[in-house]
C-alpha cells in the first residue's frame, strides 16, 4: 500500500510538451527513456492519453454518444507489464448495447537503433459476456519488452445518451499528458462535478453545429385545431465544449484504511439533469439535494410505499398492547418489524418486493423493511421519517443525484431527541446503526417532501466495562472476568456470537484472550437486545509475569494490555473513522500472596486530549496485598479529522508505553 501523493510536480519535460501525438508516430526519444521523469519509481507511465466524446445523430435512434480513445503507454520494467493489458467494459440493456468500433494497437521496441513495430492482431482481442448487463472487450499487447512503448486507439458507440462516463484524470501510473474534449449538444444539459485532490483546469466554450434532425412539430391548423407533424430540417444549434489539458499528473497510490480509494482519484463526473429536444418538452432529471429527495419521495417504489398500511394495520393493536412509555412502544414496533421481515442481503432505498408483499412473505430488501417500520411508527402516532443514506462502500455522495444514495433507515422523534432505527439488521438497537451505514450524514425526508441532512453517528458513548479478579500463584494467575457491553459493542458482539455452541464460544474466547486457558464461560442477554451483554469467564494462565535476577515482573494489564499502535503512518490525509464515541474501561483486582512484597508499581497518570477529543486515565492503588488497577480510554468523537491524526497517534503511543510498565515483586 502506497502513500497518497498530493503534491503536484510541474517539470519541464522536453518531448512531452513539444510533441503532438498521432497514432503510429512513436519517437526514438520515447523509446530511449529509461525512467519516468514524474516519478522515478514508476514501472510504467502514460505518455499521452486522449479522449474525445461527442454526440451523433441517427434518424431512427436519435442522439447517441461516441467516445474516442487514444492511449500511449511506456513500460519501464517488468513490474509494469500489467499495464499492457486493457479492458473495455460495455453495457447493454433493453436489447441495445455499447459497441467497440475500429480497434487498433501496436507495440514498439528499439532494437539496434531501429524502431520495430508489432501489430495487435485480432486473435489477441477477446469479447467476453460477463452477465446480463455487461460484456468486456479485452486485449493484451504483443512482444512486450522492458522499455517498450505501446499504443491503442478505439472508439465506443454508446446508444444511451445519459451514460456520459466519468472522465478519469488520475490512474495508478503517472500521466505525462492528458487531453480531454467532451462536446455536448445544447439539448442535453449535464451537471459536472470534480472529485479528488488535484486541481483540474476545466475550460468551457461553445461552438455551433448544424445537423439534419427530424422531430415532432405542433402547429395551429386553423379551424382544425392543433396538428402534430414529423418534420425534418437542417438545424443549427450550440454545443458546450469541455476541454481539459493536464500535464505531469502523479499516480494515485493506495493507502491503508483509506476506505473507498476511488473517492480520491481526480476525475470529472457528469450527470444528465435536463433534456430539451426540439419539439419535446423540457425534462428535468435531477437538481439539488432538495429536488432529488422530493423526486425520490414522489416515486412509486418509495413515497407511495410509505402510504400503504392495510397489510399491517390489524397487527398494530396487538403489538402496542400493554406498552405505556414512548420508548416501549417504539421498541415493540421495532422488534416486530425485525422479526417479521428478514433481510435478503440487498441494499436500496427503493423497495424490491414492495412493502405489502415483503411483510406477508417475510423477506425484503432494506427499503421493504424500513419503509414498513416508518409507516407503522407513523400509524402509531410517532413523528417518523425516512432517512436516505449512502453506505461506506458506496462512497461519499458527491452531488445531487438519485444514484448518490443506496440505503434507507427510519428516524423517530422522541422526548430525548431524534433517534435512528434500522430494522434490517437484527442486532441494531435504537440509535445504533450498522457500521456499514455510518457514512457522515443522511438525508431525512419529511412528509411534505422537504428534506434536510441529519447526523448518523450516535451521541451516546458505547461502553465496554471489564472487571477482573486475579490471584497470583507462583506458577501464574487464576481468576475470573466479567465483561459488560452496550450499544455498538453489544451489537458487534451479538453479530459475532449468535448461533454458536458453548464449545465454540470457549474456543473463540481462548483465541481472543491470548495465552490463557478459559475454564468456563457464560454469556447472558445474548438475545435480549434491551439488555447489555454480560460475559463471565473463569481462567488460568502461566503468562504475564517473568522472574529475572531474583525479582518478579508482572504486566499489570494482562491480556488487555494495548501492545500495538493501530496508527503507524507519518501523515494521513483523511479522517480516522472510529464510528462511535466510546469508553474502554478495565478494572483489575490483583491479589499477591503473603510471601511477596510489592517493591514498586507504575505511577498513576492522566492524559487529556485537546479539544475534548478524549482521555486516558490510569490508576494504581495498593491496599496491603491487593493492587487495584484502573485503566480507562475515552474517545468522544466518532470521526477524527485528518489534521488531528498526530494527536491520536501520539495518544496511543503514550498509552502503550504506560501500559508496558511493570509491577515489581520480591520474595520475602
Amino acid at each position: 500500500m502506497k502513500k497518497l501523493l498530493i503534491t503536484f510536480f510541474l517539470l519541464n519535460i522536453t518531448f512531452a510538451n513539444a510533441q503532438t501525438y498521432k497514432f503510429g508516430k512513436v519517437s526514438i526519444d520515447e523509446l530511449k527513456e529509461t525512467t519516468c521523469a514524474i516519478d522515478s519509481t514508476a514501472s510504467a507511465a502514460i505518455l499521452y492519453k486522449e479522449r474525445f466524446t461527442h454526440f451523433e445523430y441517427e434518424e431512427s435512434k436519435g442522439f447517441y454518444i461516441v467516445n474516442e480513445y487514444f492511449t500511449r503507454i511506456k513500460i519501464y520494467n517488468k513490474e509494469g507489464y500489467d499495464y499492457a493489458s486493457h479492458i473495455i467494459p460495455l453495457y447493454q440493456a433493453n436489447s441495445e448495447n455499447e459497441e467497440v468500433m475500429s480497434l487498433k494497437g501496436a507495440t514498439y521496441n528499439l532494437e539496434n537503433g531501429n524502431i520495430v513495430k508489432t501489430k495487435l492482431e485480432n486473435d489477441a482481442v477477446f469479447l467476453e459476456k460477463t452477465n446480463k448487463y455487461w460484456s468486456q472487450k479485452k486485449f493484451t499487447m504483443p512482444n512486450l519488452k522492458e522499455g517498450a512503448v505501446l499504443e491503442w486507439e478505439y472508439s465506443v458507440k454508446c446508444p444511451f445518451y445519459s451514460k456520459l462516463d466519468e472522465v478519469v484524470l488520475q490512474t495508478e501510473i503517472p500521466i505525462y499528458k492528458n487531453a480531454v474534449n467532451i462536446t455536448i449538444p445544447e439539448y442535453l444539459i449535464f451537471n459536472t462535478n470534480t472529485k479528488g485532490y488535484l486541481n483540474v483546469p476545466l475550460q468551457q466554450s461553445k461552438k455551433n453545429r448544424t445537423l439534419d434532425l427530424s422531430y415532432n412539430q405542433r402547429y395551429d391548423n386553423g379551424r382544425l385545431g392543433y396538428k402534430t407533424e414529423r418534420v425534418q430540417s437542417s438545424v443549427t444549434f450550440n454545443e458546450a465544449v469541455y476541454k481539459i489539458d493536464m500535464l505531469n499528473v502523479p499516480s494515485l497510490k493506495e493507502e491503508p484504511y483509506a476506505g473507498n480509494i476511488d473517492n480520491y482519484a481526480a476525475g470529472i463526473l457528469f450527470e444528465l439533469s435536463v433534456t430539451k429536444f426540439p419539439g419535446s418538452n423540457i425534462e428535468t432529471l435531477s437538481n439539488d439535494w432538495e429536488a432529488v429527495a422530493k423526486k425520490i419521495n414522489e416515486s412509486e417504489d418509495f413515497g407511495k410505499e410509505l402510504k400503504e398500511k392495510s397489510h399491517f394495520i390489524a397487527d398494530l393493536p396487538g403489538i402496542l398492547e400493554g406498552k405505556i412509555t414512548e420508548m416501549d412502544k417504539i421498541n415493540a414496533i421495532f422488534k416486530h418489524i425485525k422479526t417479521k421481515i428478514r433481510w435478503n442481503e440487498f441494499n436500496s432505498f427503493y423497495t424490491d418486493l414492495g412493502v405489502k408483499k415483503a411483510y406477508k412473505e417475510g423477506l425484503g430488501n432494506v427499503a421493504d423493511i424500513n419503509l414498513n417500520l416508518i409507516s407503522m411508527l407513523r400509524e402509531a402516532g410517532f413523528d417518523a421519517n425516512p432517512v436516505l443514506i449512502s453506505t461506506v462502500s458506496n462512497g461519499i455522495p458527491y452531488f445531487p443525484s438519485r444514484q448518490a444514495f443506496n440505503y434507507v433507515v427510519a428516524s423517530v422523534k422522541t422526548v430525548d431527541g431524534t433517534i435512528l432505527l434500522d430494522a434490517s439488521k437484527i442486532f441494531t438497537v435504537p440509535n445504533v446503526l450498522p457500521e456499514s451505514a455510518l457514512n457522515f450524514n443522511g438525508r431525512e425526508i419529511k412528509p411534505d417532501g422537504k428534506s434536510d441532512w441529519i447526523k448518523l453517528y450516535a451521541q451516546k458513548h458505547s461502553i465496554s466495562k471489564i472487571v477482573t479478579n486475579l490471584k497470583f500463584t507462583e506458577s501464574g494467575f487464576e481468576g475470573n472476568v466479567r465483561k459488560i457491553l452496550n450499544l455498538s459493542f453489544a451489537m458487534n458482539y451479538r453479530n459475532n456470537m449468535i448461533g454458536k455452541t458453548k464449545e465454540k464460544i470457549i474456543e473463540e474466547l481462548n483465541e481472543e484472550y491470548e495465552n490463557i486457558d478459559v475454564l468456563d464461560a457464560r454469556i447472558n442477554n445474548l438475545e435480549d437486545l434491551e439488555k447489555d451483554i454480560n460475559e463471565s469467564i473463569k481462567f488460568e494462565t502461566e503468562s504475564y509475569f517473568e522472574e529475572i535476577s531474583g525479582k518478579t515482573y508482572i504486566s499489570p494489564m494482562f491480556f488487555y494490555q494495548r501492545t500495538k499502535n493501530p496508527f503507524t503512518l507519518e501523515q494521513r490525509d483523511y479522517p480516522i473513522f472510529f464510528n462511535k464515541p466510546f469508553v474502554n474501561a478495565v478494572t483489575i483486582n490483583l491479589t499477591i500472596p503473603e510471601n511477596y512484597t510489592i517493591e514498586s508499581m507504575p505511577e498513576s497518570t492522566e492524559i487529556l486530549l485537546p479539544q475534548n477529543l478524549g482521555a486516558f486515565v490510569y490508576k494504581f492503588v495498593q491496599n496491603e496485598q491487593i493492587i487495584l488497577i484502573e485503566s480507562s480510554i475515552v474517545i468522544n468523537e466518532p470521526v477524527i479529522q485528518a489534521g488531528q491524526y498526530t494527536i491520536i497517534k501520539d495518544f496511543y503511543r503514550d498509552i502503550i508505553k504506560k501500559q508496558a510498565e511493570k509491577i515489581v515483586l520480591v520474595k520475602k
Partner: protein
C-alpha cells in the same frame, strides 16, 4: 351412471393418492436422525450421481441432490452452481426449496438461473461458464433439492466421488454409479475408504459406491488437508476423448505417447530464424547444463505469463511460433516453448504434468488419466536432473520449486509417460540467516541494522513478498512483519534477488522508540530477540480425533550483537537453552562479549510431517516453550 361417477371419483382419488405416495420423499427435518444432525450445519439427505459412458465420445451425468441446511454457516449450499463449457450441455434442471416440515417454499425455473463466465480473476479469457441461482433463506432449517443432467463429449474426465464435502456436514446417503460399455476398461482408485460407512459393488460394466449415516466431521486445528482425511474415489477409462481428441491408454507409457503425439507435437512450429538464433546463442558451449541456462534465461527475459484458457479444455499449448512472436503465454505455452528451444540447443527436456500448489498433492500413479493443474520441465542429466519452472521471470535457473516439490508427477519421456517423485526440500535447505547489530539508549530506543539471506522455500516467500515492490510498500511490509514492535521508523530497505547464489537478500536499517521498558528505578527491561519471534501457540483441542500436520520445514539461524546504553550493565544472563523434540530443535545462548556488548545466538529447525494425534499436547508444549524463550526479557541496571 351414479356408479360410474363414483368409480371415476375413486379412481381419481386413488390416482392422486398414489402419485402423492410416489413423490412423497418426505423432507421433514424430524426424519433426520439426531446422531446425524447434532452439531451439523447441514445434512446431505441424498446425493446420487449416475455416470453413463455411452461410447468414447459421449458421457451422460445425472445428479440428484437434497441438502437440509440448518444455519447461516452452510448458506452457500443453498445457492447451487453448475459448471459447463462448450463441450457440455446442461438439461432438465429442477430446483425446489422445502421448509422444515417438508412443504414447498419455492420452485425455481431454469430461466431464473443466471449464466456467468467462470471468471477466475487472472485469465485474460476462458471458455468456462456456469449457471447459478442465488437464494436467500427466510427461515432455518430448510431443504434444497435439485436435479440436472449433463451430457458431454469429454470422457477424459470422469467426476470423482467425494461423498463428504465439508466439515460440520452430516450425510444420510451419498451414492455413485459408473456404467460403461463392455469393451471399455475402467480403473478406480479408492482413498480413505476404511473407517467410514461405505459399501462398494463391482459388477460387469458397473461400479457402485454408497456412503450412509455419517455424522458431521469437526475441524481440528492443524488437521491435514480435508482431501487427506475424507473418503474419495477417482476413476479413469482406457478409451476417451479430450475436447475433440480421441485417446487410448492403459499404462502411463501409452498415455505419455498419446499426449506427445496428439496434444503437443503439432504445436511446435518454430521458424528457421528462431532456430538459428538459438543455435548461435549456445555455439561452442559444451556443458548441456550451461546451454540450458542460456536458453532458460533467454526465455525469462523475453516472455511474460498471461493465462489464456481456450480450446481443448485448455490442454493444448499455444503454437511455439506464436509464443515467440507475442512474447507471452500460459504455463503450458511457456513450458512447451522452452522445451522446443532446448531441443534446438540439443538439451533434452521432459514436459511434466503436476498438481502444483499447497497442500501437496500427487498425480495418482495408479490411475492412468488426464491429471494435474500445471506443467514444468525436467531435464535429465548425468547426475541430478534439473527442474525448470518456466513461468517466472525472477527465479534462478534450476531452483527446486516450492509448489512442485516432493510429489508424484507425470513426465513425458521419449519412451512415453513415467511417474517420478520430485525431490523434497530438506529442512536445512529452507534456511534463513539473519545477522543483526542493534543498540539501545537509556530511553529504550532501539537502532538496528539487519541483514537477511533466505534460501529454499524461504527464498520463494521473500521473493514473492518483497521483490519489485515500491519503497512505500516495502515500508509497510517490514512494519507488518515486525508488528510486535511499535513506533518503527525505517531508515532504509534494500532488497536483492541474488539469482547466482539462489538466495534473497534484504538489508534494513530501522529505529523504534519505547522498545525497552524503563522501570521506576531506571533499570531497563527488554527482550534480546527483537526480530524473529515464534509467538503462536495452537489452541487446545479436547479429545482430538485427527492427526496433525506441520506443513513447512525450515531452519533459522540468528546472530545478534547488542550494544547496551552507556553506564548500564547487565547482571544476570539466562543460561543457554536447548530443546530437542520430534518436531524440531531449538537453542539459544546469550553471553557478554564486553561490558557493553552482548552476543545473542538463536537457532531453530522445524520438521514438516504428519504427526499422531497423541502428540498434539506435546507439540503445544514445544510451541509454548518457543514463545516463552523468544519473548524472554533481560534486565539491565544503571552503574
Amino acid at each position: 351412471m351414479k356408479m360410474n361417477n363414483m368409480k371415476k371419483t375413486i379412481a381419481l382419488a386413488l390416482l392422486v393418492v398414489s402419485q402423492w405416495i410416489i413423490s412423497a420423499q418426505n423432507y421433514s427435518v424430524s426424519f433426520i436422525p439426531d446422531s446425524i444432525k447434532t452439531n451439523a450445519d447441514a445434512v446431505v439427505i441424498y446425493d446420487n450421481t449416475t455416470i453413463e459412458i455411452l461410447n468414447q465420445r459421449s458421457m451422460n451425468i445425472s445428479q440428484k441432490t437434497a441438502v437440509t441446511i440448518f444455519n447461516k454457516n452452510a448458506q452457500e449450499w443453498a445457492s447451487p452452481s453448475i459448471d459447463y463449457d462448450k463441450h457440455q450441455k446442461i438439461n432438465n434442471v429442477t430446483l425446489i426449496y422445502y421448509d422444515a416440515l417438508g412443504n414447498v417454499l419455492k420452485k425455481v425455473k431454469r430461466s431464473e438461473f443466471m449464466d456467468y463466465a467462470a471468471v477466475d480473476g487472472f485469465s485474460i479469457y476462458s471458455d468456462n461458464r456456469l449457471i447459478h441461482f442465488d437464494y436467500t433463506p427466510v427461515t432455518y432449517p430448510f431443504t434444497m433439492v435439485y436435479e440436472y443432467e449433463l451430457s458431454t463429449s469429454n470422457t477424459a474426465f470422469i467426476n470423482s466421488w467425494f461423498p463428504m464435502r465439508g466439515y460440520d456436514t452430516g450425510v444420510l446417503s451419498s451414492s455413485y454409479s459408473l456404467i460403461f460399455p463392455k469393451e471399455f476398461k475402467v480403473q478406480q482408485l479408492e482413498n480413505n475408504i476404511l473407517g467410514f460407512n461405505i459399501k462398494s459393488q463391482v459388477l460387469p460394466q458397473r461400479l457402485n459406491y454408497t456412503l450412509s449415516n455419517t455424522p458431521p466431521l469437526k475441524y481440528e486445528e492443524m488437521s491435514p488437508s480435508f482431501r487427506e482425511i475424507v473418503p474419495h474415489v477417482n476413476f479413469a477409462i482406457n478409451k476417451f476423448n479430450l475436447a475433440g481428441v480421441d485417446g487410448q491408454a492403459e499404462s502411463w507409457e501409452e498415455f505419455g505417447i498419446w499426449m506427445q503425439d496428439k496434444l503437443l507435437a503439432s504445436r511446435n512450429n518454430l521458424s528457421e530464424e528462431t532456430k538459428t538464433q538459438i543455435k548461435n546463442m549456445v555455439e561452442g558451449v559444451a556443458d548441456p547444463k550451461e546451454r540450458a541456462k542460456i536458453v532458460y534465461e533467454y526465455v525469462q527475459n523475453k516472455t511474460r505469463y498471461i493465462s489464456v484458457q481456450i480450446g481443448v479444455g485448455g490442454w493444448m499449448p499455444m503454437y511455439t511460433d506464436d509464443v515467440d512472436r507475442l512474447s507471452y503465454g500460459d504455463c503450458k505455452a511457456l513450458t512447451y516453448y522452452t522445451k522446443s528451444l532446448l531441443e534446438v540447443a540439443d538439451v533434452p527436456a521432459y514436459y511434466t504434468a503436476v498438481h502444483a500448489g499447497n497442500p501437496k498433492r500427487n498425480i495418482e500413479k495408479d490411475l492412468v488419466s488426464v491429471q494435474g493443474n500445471h506443467v514444468f520441465l525436467i531435464l535429465p542429466m548425468e547426475k541430478d536432473s534439473i527442474y525448470l519452472e518456466c513461468t517466472s521471470q525472477k527465479i534462478p535457473f534450476g531452483i527446486k520449486n516450492d509448489f512442485t516439490e516432493d510429489r508424484d508427477v507425470l513426465s513425458l519421456t521419449p519412451q512415453g509417460g513415467k511417474i517420478i517423485h520430485t525431490p523434497a526440500y530438506l529442512p536445512e535447505e529452507n534456511r534463513q540467516d539473519q545477522i543483526v547489530h542493534y543498540s539501545l539508549d537509556d530511553k529504550g530506543t532501539l537502532n538496528a541494522k539487519i541483514e537477511i539471506k533466505s534460501f529454499g522455500n524461504q527464498y520463494s516467500n521473500h521473493l514473492q513478498d518483497f521483490d519489485g515492490k515500491q519503497p512505500n510498500e516495502l515500508d509497510e511490509l517490514i512494519k507488518n512483519h515486525y508488528d510486535h514492535i511499535n513506533n518503527i521508523t525505517i531508515e532504509s530497505i534494500k532488497v536483492y534477488n541474488n539469482r547466482e547464489l539462489k538466495r534473497y537478500e534484504e538489508n534494513i536499517l530501522l529505529s523504534a522508540t519505547n522498545y525497552a521498558v524503563i522501570n521506576p528505578d531506571a533499570s531497563i527491561l527488554f527482550s534480546p530477540n527483537a526480530f524473529n519471534r515464534l509467538d503462536y501457540v495452537p489452541p487446545k483441542v479436547n479429545n482430538r480425533k485427527m492427526p496433525f500436520e506441520i506443513k513447512n520445514s525450515f531452519k533459522d539461524v540468528d546472530q545478534y550483537k547488542i550494544q547496551l546504553p552507556e553506564n548500564y550493565v547487565v547482571s544476570d544472563l539466562p543460561t543457554s537453552v536447548s530443546i530437542e523434540t520430534d518436531f524440531g530443535i531449538y537453542s539459544f545462548s546469550i553471553e557478554k562479549e564486553t561490558e557493553q556488548i552482548l552476543v545473542y545466538k538463536r537457532s531453530i529447525i522445524v520438521y514438516n510431517g504428519i504427526y499422531p494425534k497423541e502428540k498434539y499436547e506435546e507439540y503445544r508444549k514445544f510451541r509454548k516453550d518457543l514463545k516463552k524463550y523468544d519473548e524472554m526479557k533481560i534486565l539491565v541496571n544503571k552503574k
